[in-house]
Amino acid sequence: MTALRPDLAIIAREVSAHARILDVGCGDGLLMAALRDTKDADARGMELDARDVATAVARGLSVVQGDADTDLADYPDGSFDYAILSQTLQTTKRPDLVLDHLVRIGRQAFVSFPNFAQWRIRFAHMFGGRMPVTEQLPHRWYDTPNIHHVTIDDFRSFLDERNIRIEGQWFLSGDKPRDERLANLLAEHAVFLLRRD
């Protein structure tokens, strides 16, 4: 099996066995397949890209072609143990509404995103005077799918406003874990485990 992306590896490790999960923006289903095979999870997925959906379904996964911005409303409250949104938040039209649905549908929710306040990005912006193009965020300003960049501190204050509780948090530099200190400056990626209060 292909190695999981580091943020997905964290989620795969932390999900409890036999859980019901909804992976929003599941791509071709790598995380779902891993959760099915290692955690005996009942995994469902949603993905916008038709080719990825076809690959995931051909893998035997239950994946529907859909858009996180418009197609989450039909899922009942608390219908999954975990709702997962990995590296998709910054691509949605209304991340706030997507997050509201996520913590409504899942009794807990995993959210991972690239941290736009990481020092390399700050440097690129401050000294280059250009929209940052990094290994993590390789797109140019006009073709990027990432239309709502967010920093770890922005995300935390949003959770505060919405009374969403943090039940776990992990930070990454490349594939290496790092601690919470100065995460907003130093971490390239963040993974949060959330619950609606």
Binding site: R44, A58, V64, G66
Partner: protein
């Protein structure tokens, strides 16, 4: 199983029934024309029912007895295909109301010794499915590994999952809908009126006389347009003229598209009964899966254990993607295991009958995942 005469090609049987119809009528006896491919395994867990579309039949993977053409879904069904007789016991039944050997308006009414014609009861998609369940009981098949269908076949697959949730482990619904829209009904009404306006129709009592072939051909021509896409028609025919260099300033088939449609209409009447066309289009128009559940489709599937796979095509305007999406939303709300993808094709509604490698890859993976459970 080799000597079990219930299984094999070109089978016919009559069962006492009755089938309890939605109209309130108890219909009996019930005739069935069907085919099976492959063998039922020891624990009877490999049966796949394939449901056919409006003008389809049981000859899904063997030559049509009238036209001599290959089965209508040999791209999906056959050795090495997603639905494979070396792995599956495949059952394909001519639907009730049709004209290829199952009970329909052209069948003999045992009470009169003459064809039913308009005395045949009006049936629904659910009635077709109830009749199919009767035949499966006769075949000793309790659980279906899968029910698979495109277009009206997809309506039957949905109805199977709704009526007999414990008998259906997986359902594949392709280019279909959970209800007929006003536009769907409108097109069907054009076809029915064309048939009934043909003097030969004679209130349906034309058996033994000239059949209303002109009306049926027009019905088929109108319907055929709905099976294709505008882009597909343009690519295939454009405004090109048929075997001539200039317009005739008359009403011959000047354009290739006219000639093509006329051919579609004329070849159809050789293999299809006009009254069957009336009854089956009526059944489709009456179809609204949510109707018994106060219009809430999710309630139809509450608590279902069936796995669902839905596929739509982006150029299909007869049963557009939005209709598949409605079903998917309902399945999600019901907590059902559902997969859905919209595939790209220039061929409109007919795409499900044509070469579509992505469709085959999806159906294959979906069925195999069910088998490994």
């Amino acid at each position: 199983m080799h000597e079990d005469t219930r299984f094999g090609l070109d089978k016919k049987t009559q069962l006492l029934g009755p089938v309890q119809l939605d109209s309130g009528v108890e219909f009996a006896p019930v005739e069935f024309a069907y085919e099976t491919y492959g063998e039922l395994n020891a624990d009877k867990s490999n049966a796949i029912l394939i449901c056919h579309a409006l003008t389809g039949d049981q000859y899904v993977a063997s030559n049509h007895p009238v036209t001599g053409k290959a089965g209508w879904w040999t791209r999906m069904v056959g050795p090495g295909k997603p639905i494979d007789p070396t792995r599956h016991c495949i059952i394909s039944i001519n639907v009730m109301g049709s004209c290829m050997g199952s009970s329909g308006p052209a069948s003999i009414d045992p009470t009169t010794g003459a064809p039913y014609a308009m005395a045949f009861p009006v049936i629904t998609i659910a009635d077709m499915v109830r009749a199919q369940a009767l035949l499966l009981n006769h075949l000793g098949i309790d659980i279906l590994e899968a029910v698979v269908g495109g277009s009206m076949g997809g309506m039957q697959a949905l109805s199977w999952a709704a009526l007999y949730p414990d008998r259906v482990r997986s359902a594949v619904i392709i280019a279909s809908t959970a209800r007929h829209s006003a536009q769907n009904i409108a097109f069907h009404e054009v076809g029915r009126q064309a048939i009934m306006a043909d003097p030969s129709w004679n209130n349906g009592a034309y058996y033994g006389h000239e059949a209303p072939t002109a009306g049926l051909a027009v019905a088929r021509m109108a319907a055929h347009i709905t099976y294709l896409s505008e882009a597909g028609l343009t690519e295939k025919f454009g405004r090109r003229l048929q075997n001539r260099d200039a317009k005739s300033f008359g009403f011959d088939a000047d354009f290739q598209v006219e000639s093509y449609l006329r051919h579609q209409g004329l070849s159809f009447v050789d293999r299809f009964d006009a009254n069957s066309y009336l009854y089956i289009t009526r059944a489709m128009d009456y179809f609204d899966l949510a109707e018994p559940h106060d219009g809430v489709l999710a309630k139809t599937f509450a608590g279902t254990k069936t796995r669902f796979c839905l596929i739509s095509f982006d150029s299909d305007w007869l049963y557009p993607t939005a209709e598949s999406r409605r079903i998917v939303h309902a399945l999600n709300a019901a907590g059902a295991a559902a997969s859905f993808v919209e595939l790209s094709s220039p061929f409109g509604h007919d795409a499900f009958l044509l070469e579509a490698p992505e469709m085959n890859r999806i159906v294959d993976g979906f069925l195999r995942a069910g088998e490994s459970r």
